[in-house]
Subunit: 449 residues, 2 copies
Amino acid sequence: MRQRITELLVAKAEEQVVTVAGWIRTRRDTGDFSFLEVNDGSTLINMQVIADKSLGNYEEEVKKLSTGCSVMVEGVLKESPAKGQSVEVHASSVTVVGWADPETYPLQKKRHSLEFLREISHLRPRTNAISAVARVRSRLSYAVHNFFQEKGFTQVHTPIITTSDCEGAGEMFQVAATGKDGHFFGAPAGLTVSGQLQAEVYATALGDVYTFGPTFRAENSNTSRHLAEFWMIEPEMAFCDLQGDMEVAEEMLKYVLADVLEHCVTDMNLFDKFISKGIIERLQSVLAHDFARVTYTEAVDQLLASGQKFDFAVKWGIDLQSEHERYLTEQVYKRPLIVTDYPAAIKPFYMRMNEDGKTVAAMDILVPGIGELVGGSQREERYDLLAERMEAAGLDLEEYGWYLDLRKYGTVPHAGFGLGFERLVQFVTGMANIREVIPFPRTPGFAPC
Amino acid sequence: MRQRITELLVAKAEEQVVTVAGWIRTRRDTGDFSFLEVNDGSTLINMQVIADKSLGNYEEEVKKLSTGCSVMVEGVLKESPAKGQSVEVHASSVTVVGWADPETYPLQKKRHSLEFLREISHLRPRTNAISAVARVRSRLSYAVHNFFQEKGFTQVHTPIITTSDCEGAGEMFQVAATGKDGHFFGAPAGLTVSGQLQAEVYATALGDVYTFGPTFRAENSNTSRHLAEFWMIEPEMAFCDLQGDMEVAEEMLKYVLADVLEHCVTDMNLFDKFISKGIIERLQSVLAHDFARVTYTEAVDQLLASGQKFDFAVKWGIDLQSEHERYLTEQVYKRPLIVTDYPAAIKPFYMRMNEDGKTVAAMDILVPGIGELVGGSQREERYDLLAERMEAAGLDLEEYGWYLDLRKYGTVPHAGFGLGFERLVQFVTGMANIREVIPFPRTPGFAPC
C-alpha cells in the first residue's frame, strides 16, 4: 500500500519504511546518486527521493527517468537536511511503472501558459496550478455541503432535463434522443438553467433546502466569464425574507472562505505567489468586514455622482453591467457589496414586488475582481401578483400550474439565492479565466473529452 | 425567527417561548380548544399545538384550518402529557399564512398511493413517505462526501455535456442549441452516461478522486428500475487494483449505511413500519457481515447447479440478468455479494484483461432486493492492449487520443467503480419503485416541472 505524500509530510520524524507512488516532476543527477522529485497529486509538495547507484536499475532506468514517468518508490523516510522541505525518502527500490517519452510528452519542466494547458485539458491536472485548483475546488464544494448540512438544510437534486425554462429566456439547450419519433419526454425538453423553481417545491415542504448541480446556457459568449456548463448552489428557505436571505448568503461565503484558507494552505500560497498576488490577504479582509449594503437606486446615484466614464451609460432602470458592478465593489466600497431592490422590469417574474410597485426584493452580491457572485431574491408568494407577472412575462399559466400551486396551497414567504460555483472558485484562487477553474470547460466550439 | 421542530424535540424540558412555522397536517377540535398537528419538514414528527378559544381568531380562522394550510405559531413549549410525544406548544397566537382549500387540495388526511403521488410530484414532498425519502437521500449524499473527503479523495466535477460515449453504446441523449447553425460545440454532443473516463484523467494526476453527478440514458425502458436521468458516484483510484477497489466499495457502503441508521432514526422507522418491514434489521445485518465474493465462473456454476428455473437461461458467457443477480444475493448468499472476473465479451473496452485472456478484472456488487448496486473494474492501463480492445469495439482511436494518452505518458494501474445513487436510496429506504427516490423522475414520456 502506498502512502500519500500529504500524510508523510506531517508524519513523525522517526525513520520509517514507506512506499510512495506518483509521477516524476524532475530528476537531478549528482555523481553517485539522483534526486527525484515525485508528486502524487495529494499535495503540491513533491517528495524528494534520493536514489543512489547501488539500486539495481540505477543506470538502466533511474537515470532515464523524465518528467511525467510514473514510479513506485520504497525506502526510508528521513528528516531532510535540504532547505524548504521537511522529509525525504532514501530509496531502497525505484520501480518504473510507466514511461513518458520526453520527445513527445507535452508537459515539460518549464512553465506552460494557461492558454496552452487549456488545449490539453486531459493532462493539465498534472501541473501545479491546475492540480491546486482541483484540490481547492473540491474543498470548496465540501465546505458548501458542510455549511448547509450543519445548518440543517436538506440537499435536493433538482432535475437537469426539464420542460420549464426558469429565467423565461430562450438560452436553453435542447435535449433529444436520436432515432426516437416525436419527443422522448412527450414534450420539448431542455437542460436546466436553474434548479430554483423545483427547489421551491421542496422548500415549501421541507423548510430549508439547497441544490448543488450543473446548469447550462446555450449562449454564444466566448469570454473569460462564461461557460455553457457550470455548477450552481441554490439554497431556498421557507418563512424567510430578503433580510434572512442576505444573512445566510454572507454567512455562507465567509464560512467557505475561512474553511479553504484553513485547509488549503499550500495551494493558496501558490495562488498568492504566482496567480494573484495578495489574494490571501484580500480574502482575509473579506472575512474581517461586514458586507456593504446599498439599494439599486442608491447605487445608481453613486455611479452617476462618481464622474467615472463607463462604456454603458448609467441611468435608473438599466441592468448593471460588469463594469458598474466592479466599480462599485472595487472602487467605491472596496469590499463585497450587496445591492438590493432592483427595478422589477429587469428581473425575473418570480421576484417579490416591493411596496413601491416598481422594485422587487432582489439582492446581488458583488465582489472585487469578479462582479456578481450571488444573485437572490425573496420570491413572490402572493398568487394573484405572481400570476399577473407570469402573464406579463408571456408564460403559460397552465404549464406552470405546479409552480402556482405552491402559492395556492399553504403559501409561505420564502427566499433563496444562486451562487455560481466557478465564480466562487475564481474568487478564491484569483484565476482570471473561468476556463481554468472547471475540469473540462464547455464553451462555443469546444467540448473535447 | 422560527425554530425547527427537529430542534425543539430535543430542547430542554423547561418551558420556553417558541415560534413554530409550518403546515397543518390535521386539526382536531375538542370543546374549548383545538389540537393542531404542525409539520415543518425538518422531521417526520409533527408538533402538537394547543390553540384555545381565547385566541382572537379562534372561531374565524383556527377552526377553519385544514390540511396543507401554512401557519406561524407563537407559544410556550411544554412537556406533553400525551402518549408518543415529548413536547407540545400552547399557542399564544396562531397566524394563518396561507390557506389550502380542502375542496381542491389534492393531499388530504387519508393515505395516498405512491402512484397517485407521482402524478403530483410538486406536492408529494409534503407527505410523510416522500419527505422521509428526501431527508434520507440528503443524508446519504452527505455521508458519501464525508466518506471520500475523510479518506483524502478529491471531488471532480466531470462534464455533463460530452463528445465521448463512455460505454461505447448508443443510448445517449443528443444536445443542441436551437437556431444555431451546425454544432454548438463544433461536434455532435450528448449527455454523459458516465464520468469515468474523465475521472481517470484526474485520478492519473491527483491519485484518488470521486465524482458525484447526474448521468443519463436515452433508453425506452418504462420499468420500476430505470430512469432517464439519475445520479452516480464514481471513485477512481491510481495505483489501485481490483482488490483495493472492492475494499473501498464495501467500506463505503457500510459507512453510509451506518451513518444513515445513526442520523435518520425517525425516517428509517417509517420505512421499517410502512414501506419495507424489517429493513433496519436487514441493513444492520449487512453491516455485521463481510460481503461474499465469488467469480463469475463460480456464480454461473452455482446458478446451473441450483435447479432454479430462470426466464433467461444460464450459461457461461451470458450477462447476468436481474433474476440471476437477485437469486444469488437473496437465495444463495443472503447478503451482499461481489461477483468478479466477468467474460471480456460482455464488458466495456476499458476493463483490464485478466491473464486467462478471456475474463476481465471487473466486479459487480449485488444486494438483496435490488440486484446490481455497484459496478467497477480495474482499468486497462497497458497501451497496446487498450488500443486493441478499443479498435475491436469500433472506437476511433484518434478521437479517444486523450484517453490513450493517459497510458502513453506515465501510465499507472488504476481502478474505480460506479454506484447508482438512486439504487442506494432504494436499498436503504426499501422503496420498490425508483421513481419514489428521486425528487423529479425523468422517464419516457414523463418530465413535468
